[in-house]
């Protein structure tokens, strides 16, 4: 097939080939062709909005000279009449890696990690590659180009899809006839970035999403510093980055959540990225809109799940099932919300699938005009090239496709794709359309004849008296040749027809009977095809679109619950204040705050909740959690103070809901314990359904995770990174704080200084603006860190885990550090051999502020029970035990002025329990944050029913879809990785 295409391209229309006027010529005379080409009588889509019936497109030298109705055609014009055909601008794909060889992964034979960069003269990190230029690497691939041309594309913006900063793209035409001197429209058309490491380097940092974000930020800062001449040495990466600064900035985000993340990074440094989407943007369309990012959308929709096996399909989640139902509507929803987007073939399995998914998106309601814009004018605008590409006005490249009709109709044929005035033909444009139903009379017998399929290989079906006859059809150069076997198949006799298609669906010629006699033949088709397609669209029932919930999965809210005025009557109220535990007491919640506590309260507007026999407490606060995060450890370096969990909050984690069902209202999501200096925390309220950013406390206290012991010295896995002993750990701290102190002094001196995100954070610690929660086990290292802190004149805020805290509780009191510990975990590694469940009570008795934490998604939802264990192990009073999971963690997190107790004026973060909350028999019935009921045991029951119902509807729809012949995919079971401190992996 390919050969044919290339042969059909031989019609040379405009400028001389492969040469420019200043090039020497030794194979003949200089020829210059200044002829015009005029395509006339077309339905001409000058732009998606400007459509001209019977229009003329006049081109010369690869460009549009004029387009419209009343074009005067110059005498030296070749005229091509395309009556009845449509002309569209060719499509543009701005997220392409056309002609770029896949980056080769570096061999993984190296056992130990690589910490330093592989290159010198460049940035210190191998994943920062702004010095890459796609124009240097791309090799024009005519075969690949032809496939794209066939799908309607005429221009691609191609880049090297590797690394966090990937360097510049090149904008090229898919011009198979001319060389790169014509194809390259812009050799530096944009810069591409992503969160993904380069495959070509094993350099360990960054190994997490948040590490990538921090690294990007630091590059912006370093590049600025470099450009202002502050760095004496050569850095070719930063030079390139600075050169690329004013280009269009593209970002390979790939999902709704990552679009928001990239936007946050971009906003901080004045860059508005054009983002590659992931198809889930509709889930929080308002946030996407607010980002003001233009999007590039791949067209990937989940195949129908094969749900025939009820055992396997029970592993399917509602979230995945909904994706199948909703994702085809993503482009429509974005269009409805005025979000600008282009389409890309990136990551779609095949161009055929791209087309079918494009039609699916239109079927789901995307207006055709928007679809066309997303393929033509918008990509041109994003590139800032709307003056030369994307539409068919004067001066634009003569890049267009000629089709049999509506480009967004399944049955439409793309005849030709012209790029810079060079035609590639896929079907003969003049070929008459012979498809249709014919009634013919041959030798006094009536036959019906149906011709269908593609004109290059049409299919025929012939019936006589409803009996199907064997027949063969060939169609070439407007000549139809048909051989029909006779009814009696034993005879092996044929009637032959030879007819010319004089017009569309009109055949004229002769037929020859088996006996050799010839008769004239004419046949005209009824226009059944058109009728059929109409009928089809009518009967094709559009599947119902299931509404989005927040988050868009099981137990999500279809409408976010609102803050209410609530009056709890006659409950047992655990105040955590001087008043202690009050029986038969009322609590009024208003405007998100605790408004009144007392007896016989009333409020006309309040919803009354009978709390008789029940217990009302402050919400549980988990000082040490790893739920609701997409990454936990940036393990690529021994310090990662520059990263923050706030960057990677995953607000869709169902464990938020499960925690609410266990009475938890606030958590600190801590960085893991892979390195002595970890990352910054996210301190959040469990406002299930809200966006990631809305979970974080306003004016949040600033925290960072430190870690000691086996994990940071890599006792139980690979090695090669300092420190490998507890002795080294101390020196890491001394080194970093010494440098941070110098950094802070320089900063405060008023002299110029380069912002270092890592030292910035450490300086905050020195300045007592940021607090440390340190993962710790054995007494020696606990003692050590307090001494290091004292040397630098600050305090450790919290030791978390602190399983040998009981051995040094006196020293902790003296230092003024709190302890947040497990109730009864131990024996999971050597350093917890002396961990005892009495730890909390001993520390408490010694005067340490003690909290009980989880570090675990399962335990966190029953921290009330964990607190109760301190009654058993060490005899803590109920009132104090309860503070271990409420007021004390609030104190440790510097939140006790807002949460942690039931006190007038504090946030209304409260839980209504069925029993004494320290009892194994207690259930949270309502969990309220700032007056909003995020968990309600009765509503939960209704949700379960709704989930069941929606899932069975979706199963049914999937079965129907499969029966209609839809492509299916097998069910996959999804298991959450429950992240702990030790969760270290390459997270991207």
């Amino acid at each position: 097939m390919l050969k044919n295409y290339l042969a059909s391209m031989a019609i040379l229309l405009s400028t001389s080939l492969f040469a420019q006027d200043y090039f020497p010529k030794n194979d003949g005379v200089h020829t210059i062709n200044k002829n015009y080409t005029a395509l006339t009588n077309a339905k001409l889509f000058v732009t998606p909005k400007k459509i001209i019936e019977n229009g003329t497109l006049l081109i010369q030298d690869g460009k549009v000279v004029a387009s419209g109705n009343s074009i005067s055609i110059p005498k030296n014009a070749v005229i091509i009449d395309v009556e009845g055909k449509s002309i569209y601008p060719s499509f543009i794909d701005i997220f392409s890696s056309f002609g770029i060889a896949a980056p080769t992964s570096v061999s993984s034979s190296r056992r130990s990690n690589q910490y330093d960069a592989s290159r010198s003269g460049y940035y210190w990190n191998d994943h920062i590659l702004p010095d890459q230029h796609a124009v240097d690497q791309f090799s024009y691939n005519a075969k690949e180009a032809t496939e794209l041309l066939k799908a309607g594309f005429g221009i691609v913006n191609t880049h090297i899809p590797d690394g966090i900063i990937r360097g510049t793209s090149v904008l090229i035409t898919l011009n198979n006839n001319q060389g790169n001197q014509y194809r390259i429209l812009d050799a530096n058309s944009g810069q591409y970035s992503s969160f993904q490491r380069s495959k070509t380097s094993k350099q360990a940092y960054p190994n997490s999403l948040m590490g990538s974000m921090a690294l990007l930020r630091q590059v912006f800062i370093d590049a600025e510093w470099y450009s202002s001449g502050h760095i004496d040495t050569k850095d070719l990466s930063l030079e390139a980055f600075n050169e690329n600064k004013n280009l269009v900035q593209f970002f390979d985000a790939g999902s709704r959540a990552n679009i928001m993340r990239a936007d946050k990074v971009g906003d901080a440094y004045g860059v508005q990225y054009v983002m590659l989407g992931g198809g889930d943007e509709y889930e929080r369309v308002a946030d996407i809109k607010a980002s003001e990012a233009k999007l590039i959308l791949p067209l990937n929709f989940p195949d129908t799940y094969d749900v025939e096996d009820p055992f396997l399909s029970s592993a399917l989640t509602l979230g995945d099932m909904r994706s199948w139902n909703q994702r085809p509507s993503n482009p429509k929803i974005l269009a409805d919300n005025g979000i600008t987007f282009a389409f890309t073939t990136h990551s779609t399995k095949s161009l055929k699938e791209f087309k079918s998914n494009l039609l699916k998106a239109i079927e789901a309601g995307l207006p055709k005009e928007k679809a066309l814009e997303a393929l033509t004018t918008i990509p041109a605008q994003i590139l800032g090239k709307e003056q030369i590409i994307g539409l068919l006005e004067e001066g634009h490249l003569a890049n267009f496709i000629v089709t049999s009709g509506d480009i967004f109709d399944k049955k439409t044929t793309i005849y030709e794709n012209w790029v810079q005035g060079n035609k590639t033909a896929f079907e003969d444009i003049n070929k008459k359309d012979i498809k249709g139903d014919y009634k013919v009379t041959l030798a006094n017998n009536e036959y019906t004849m149906a011709i269908s399929g593609e004109l290059s290989k049409p299919k025929i079906e012939i019936k006589q008296d409803d009996q199907k006859l064997k027949a063969k059809l060939t169609y070439k150069d407007d000549w139809v040749q048909i051989a029909i076997a006779s009814k009696d198949s034993l005879k092996q006799e044929f009637i032959r027809i030879a007819a010319l298609a004089e017009k569309d669906r009109m055949l004229k010629g002769k037929y020859i009977l088996p006996n050799g006699s010839e008769f004239p033949f004419t046949a005209t088709a009824t226009e059944k095809e058109a009728d059929e397609s109409k009928a089809e669209t009518k009967t094709e029932d559009t599947a119902p679109l299931f509404p989005v919930t927040y988050p868009n999965k099981a137990y999500g809210f279809s409408e976010m619950p609102k803050a209410e005025t609530l009056l709890f009557k006659n409950g047992t109220v655990w105040t955590n204040e001087k008043d202690g535990i009050l029986e038969h007491t009322d609590v009024l919640i208003k405007d998100g705050k605790i408004s009144k506590i007392g007896k016989n309260l009333s409020n006309g507007k309040a919803t009354i909740i009978d709390a008789t026999g029940k217990h009302l407490t402050a919400g549980i606060i988990d000082e040490h959690s790893h739920i609701a995060a997409s990454a936990i450890n940036e393990a690529g370096q021994n310090s990662s103070a520059e990263v923050t969990i706030e960057d990677v909050i995953n607000e869709t984690d169902v464990n938020i809901y499960r925690n609410l069902a266990g009475g938890v209202t606030s958590i600190q999501i801590l960085h893991g314990s892979a390195n002595p200096i970890g990352g910054r925390s996210a301190i959040i309220k469990l406002k299930w359904g809200e966006s990631a950013d809305n979970l974080v406390y306003d004016n949040t206290p600033k925290f960072i995770k430190f870690a000691l012991g086996e994990n940071v010295k890599q006792s139980n896995w690979g090695n090669g990174r300092f420190p490998q002993t507890r002795m080294g750990v101390e020196q890491v701290y001394i080194d970093y704080f010494t440098r941070a102190k110098a950094y802070d002094a320089l900063k405060k001196s008023g002299k110029p200084f380069k912002t270092d995100l890592e030292l910035e954070v450490l300086a905050e610690i020195l300045n007592k603006e940021r607090f440390i929660s340190c993962h710790s086990y054995v007494q020696s290292e606990i003692n050590m860190l307090m001494k290091v802190a004292e040397k630098f004149d600050f305090n450790i805020n919290t030791f978390t885990h602190i399983l040998e805290g009981y051995k040094v509780a006196d020293k902790m009191v003296e230092h003024g550090v709190g302890g947040s510990t497990f109730s009864d975990w131990w024996a999971y590694k050597f350093e917890v051999n002396d961990a005892i469940p009495y730890n909390a009570s001993i520390m408490h008795n010694a005067g340490v502020t003690v909290a009980i934490n989880s570090d675990d998604a399962e335990m966190s939802r029953r921290l009330n029970q964990e607190a109760a264990k301190t009654i058993k192990y060490g005899g803590v009073s109920e009132e104090e035990a309860w503070k271990f999971v409420t007021l004390n963690p609030a104190k440790l997190l510097h939140l006790d002025d807002r949460v942690g107790s039931i006190k007038v004026g504090k946030d209304a973060d409260v839980v209504l329990w069925s029993h004494n909350p320290l009892s194994i028999y207690a259930k949270a019935e309502k969990t309220i944050i700032e007056g909003v009921t995020y968990f309600d045991i009765e509503r939960d029951k209704a949700m379960r029913e709704a989930i069941k119902k929606e899932k069975s509807q979706l199963i049914n729809m999937m079965l129907q879809s499969k029966n209609k012949g839809a492509k299916t995919q097998p069910v996959k079971k999804k298991e959450h990785k429950h992240l702990h401190c030790d969760s270290v992996e390459n997270e991207i």
Partner: protein
């Protein structure tokens, strides 16, 4: 605080020991009077008298109805307190691993797939420091179960106060453990940052065929002259005779149904389903075939985002209400150190629908029945072993689980541990400063 002082002298000499010294044989009769006796079979006696003699419960009566002669008997006045049968922990690796991250201390999993001949008992470390921490919570008996492979090996049942594995053994080689294949296979899993996608297990049917073939071969072997000796086949012999139990570890609905069909095909009549997370969907089949269940740890997360948040909490109730015999295990992450929470797993099933006495059965008489030791253990009944404890309050609730006395076969065991010693030692240190 008073109790601390009495221990001070003791502590200094104790701390060097690896574990508590096992108690010696009961020499004198003991009467526990006035306590609420939780029999373990669903009943209670509010004001009970229990007589322990030569390691057995020789009498248990309602003191309000029957007055026993208590002369020459050590009397423990337990008025207002509660007496429970020792809690029983099935499907446990207690004593097979000491510290998770220290490979040298790990003996739970032998290499290879077909290991019926591998016996847990001989590796059981009766002196494990983890084991002694179970006793102060009332967990006194366990089934020590090897892990891994298709047939992981042979378990034995032990009591938790012994010098060595021989002393510890209550029932040697009680059961063989078969790990049923899963409908999903992680061998082709796709790992992302926070979740794992697991494909359907294409080999599931073939793996079941493999089990069938293996069992057929084992039967053929036992029908022949048994030459040459085949250790794994020989180890399976008692399964076919019905004199040894087969524990099939399986969680998925379809797996359970297939396992039950397998049991029927091979006419195995002494089988237990372990794990059983989805058994609530197949309760009728289990009941009909009289197959009991060892239910996976109650304090677990649901497997699917869509599941009820409390599904693991209420599964026991769903099964019990449909007439299935259920007991509870502690398997999962942090298994051994969490096993002392067994009573609280039972407590949670009360929160989600069972009565307290029903919940108690799950870790006492039901467990004894499932393990085949109910003639001697699992309830406070005349003639059974005096393996029981006294708690100040409700032992299923951590708030009130506070044990003053515990007996195994009438021996009053130490409730001290490495942990209580450190507690006392450092409490004293801090107090004296």
């Amino acid at each position: 605080m008073k109790t601390f002082l009495t221990y001070i002298a003791f502590v200094c000499s104790m701390t060097v020991l690896a574990q508590q010294t096992p108690a010696s044989k009961q020499t004198k009769d003991i009467a526990i009077i006035g306590a609420t006796a939780h029999i373990g079979n669903g009943n209670t006696i509010n004001n009970s008298t229990i007589i322990l003699s030569e390691g057995k419960i020789v009498n248990i009566v309602d003191s309000d109805v029957v007055k026993l002669n208590l002369t020459n008997v050590d009397v423990i006045n337990a008025g207002g307190k509660h007496v429970y049968p020792g809690f029983i922990l099935p499907n446990s690796t207690m004593g097979l691993v000491e510290i998770d991250a220290v490979k040298a201390s790990d003996d739970e999993k032998e290499m290879g797939a077909w290991n019926p001949h591998i016996r847990s008992l001989i590796a059981y470390n009766a002196e494990s420091k983890v084991i002694e921490t179970l006793r102060p919570n009332g967990v006194l008996i366990g089934q020590i179960t090897p892990q891994g492979g298709r047939i992981s090996g042979t378990s034995s049942i032990v009591q938790f106060d012994a010098w060595n594995w021989e002393d510890a053994a209550i029932k040697v080689d009680d059961a063989i453990h078969l790990n049923w294949p899963s409908n999903f296979s992680s061998s082709h899993a796709f790992f992302s940052n926070t979740r794992t996608e697991i494909s359907a297990n294409e080999k599931y049917d073939a793996q079941i065929k493999e089990i069938e073939t293996y069992f057929k071969n084992a039967i053929a072997y036992s029908n022949g002259d048994k030459q040459p000796v085949n250790l794994p086949f020989a180890a399976l012999e008692n399964i076919f005779r019905g004199t040894q139990k087969l524990f099939i570890h399986v969680n998925e609905e379809k797996g359970i149904i297939d396992a039950v069909n397998f049991i029927k095909t091979f006419q195995l009549n002494n089988v237990v389903i372990v794990g059983a997370k989805e058994a609530y969907k197949t309760a009728d089949i289990l009941k009909e075939n009289n197959i009991p269940v060892v239910l996976n740890r109650v304090h677990s997360l649901p497997d699917s985002d869509d599941n009820d948040y409390n599904l693991p909490y209420k599964t026991a109730r769903l099964l019990v209400n449909q007439g299935v015999t259920v007991c509870l295990d502690s398997s999962g992450d942090m298994e051994r150190m969490s096993s002392r929470n067994l009573p609280f797993y039972a407590g949670t099933t009360v929160t989600y629908g069972l009565s307290k006495e029903q919940a108690l059965q799950l870790i006492t008489l039901n467990a004894a029945k499932v393990l085949g030791i109910d003639t001697d253990y699992g309830s406070l009944e005349k003639g059974k072993s005096a393996t029981l404890f006294i708690s100040e309050g409700d032992a299923l609730d951590m708030k009130t689980n506070n044990i003053s006395h515990a007996f195994i076969d009438g021996r009053q065991i130490s409730l001290e541990t490495h942990q209580t010693e450190l507690w006392k030692r450092y409490s004293k240190k801090l107090k004296n400063q």
